[in-house]
Symmetry: C2
Subunit: 243 residues, 2 copies
């Protein structure tokens, strides 16, 4: 019986993988994924057929996985973090539904980058938060601006994915400008680069002092709400308990 599992491998280090994800990778015939992520789990997929490809080949990766499942294979399509959060789950389900295929597709959740970043920063996501990707590769920039504006105005904690790349060097500046219309300039900001991977770096700063030039596509940026504070090297958003 063939199947496809969209497997979340977590942020990087193998210790953040779930038992279910491990099992799926053990049971499958083929692992399909982005080369960088395949490298992260190399030690545990050495006896598998591996089909890797580069960035922005998501559609062809999913089509390949569906093709393999149609041939009777058990296929894991990996995403870093959680396949359901800016990962491969949606695309797989969409393509399979569009083609009217009857393949069993299961989504195996993983620790997403934002959960890992929060853990490394302390506890910045203890209250309502909004997750926004600054990539306008697939989303009009106006939509992103509107979401930044609304989320800041309603005092959400805001977590930014894909904050800055060579193709969009100014997006983060613009985003922080929008957020600064509503949030005070001393609002705590936490930045995590390469969470749970080689080169991991954690930066604590404030809204007016974000070191833009240090931020790239491997970074998650978390901007606090009006109650967030930093103490003893930890960024904390109180839930509201009386202490």
């Amino acid at each position: 019986m063939s199947w496809i599992k969209a497997v979340g491998i977590g942020p990087g280090s193998l210790e953040h993988m779930t038992l279910q994800a491990m099992d799926a990778l053990k049971e499958c015939d083929v692992v399909v994924g982005y080369n960088t992520y395949l490298n992260l789990i190399k030690p545990i997929i050495q006896d598998k057929k591996i089909i890797g490809s580069g960035m922005r080949h998501e559609v062809s990766r999913c089509k390949k996985a569906i093709e393999l499942a149609n041939e009777g294979k058990k296929v894991c399509v990996i995403s870093s973090g959680d396949p359901g959060i800016y990962g491969m789950a949606g695309l797989l389900l969409e393509l399979s539904a569009k083609e009217g295929l009857d393949i069993k597709i299961e989504v195996i959740p993983g620790i997403s980058a934002v959960n890992m970043a929060a853990a490394l920063l302390g506890a910045p996501l203890m209250h309502d938060f909004a997750l926004i990707s600054l990539s306008d590769h697939l989303t009009p920039w106006e939509v992103i601006e509107r979401r930044l504006d609304s989320a800041a105005q309603a005092d959400f904690v805001i977590a930014l994915y894909n904050p800055r790349s060579h193709e969009r060097e100014n997006h983060l500046d613009t985003a922080l400008e929008i957020i600064s219309k509503y949030k005070p300039k001393d609002t705590p900001v936490g930045i995590v680069k390469n969470a749970s991977r080689e080169g991991e770096k954690v930066i604590f700063t404030t809204l007016e002092s974000v070191p833009i030039e240090n931020i790239d596509m491997t970074s998650i940026v978390v901007i606090g709400n009006k109650n967030t504070f930093t103490i003893g090297g930890k960024m904390i958003t109180p839930r509201g308990y009386k202490l």
Copy 2:
């Protein structure tokens, strides 16, 4: 050397725990937690000292954990899901910072309820989303209303935690009314009750047909954005790829 680890045990079933969480529970002397969650991981903590308490005893649980660590113990404080998302991480860090203690506190992320619910629904969180708790136990209701309004207006996918309890039977009605000011009434809504636990139930519906009376504190409610659709028993928010 004593320590405290705020451990995310995931949504329920042991297979969703990470290796790091398993290791922490193996290495500790004492496990502190809410009785219901201690029950979920009973099989793997049978040789540990266990300190359980009821709902709303979060502050005393954390104080107890700090006391035990001060006595030299290695302590795991468990949260269901992720301790950094409406869990125990913030409270632990706050209390320890407030008391000026020098205890090593580590946050071990887990699969949060919303990630699990999304995986069971299909892929509803593939685009920017806002996570909002409808509990006004620790947050003024006006703040919650404002966040609902802003998130709906900016077309976020919205995930609701603590959607309904006996103490606040009407919160969900009000929340859906606010959201319906901006989102069409046929917007897909997914509801997951008891994700990854006994009695798990997945419901697909639309904004105008939410079965309020079936929803309780064990439920997560996910309301789509304007591109979300349901097909073949899956709720999918497209990321925007051209297919």
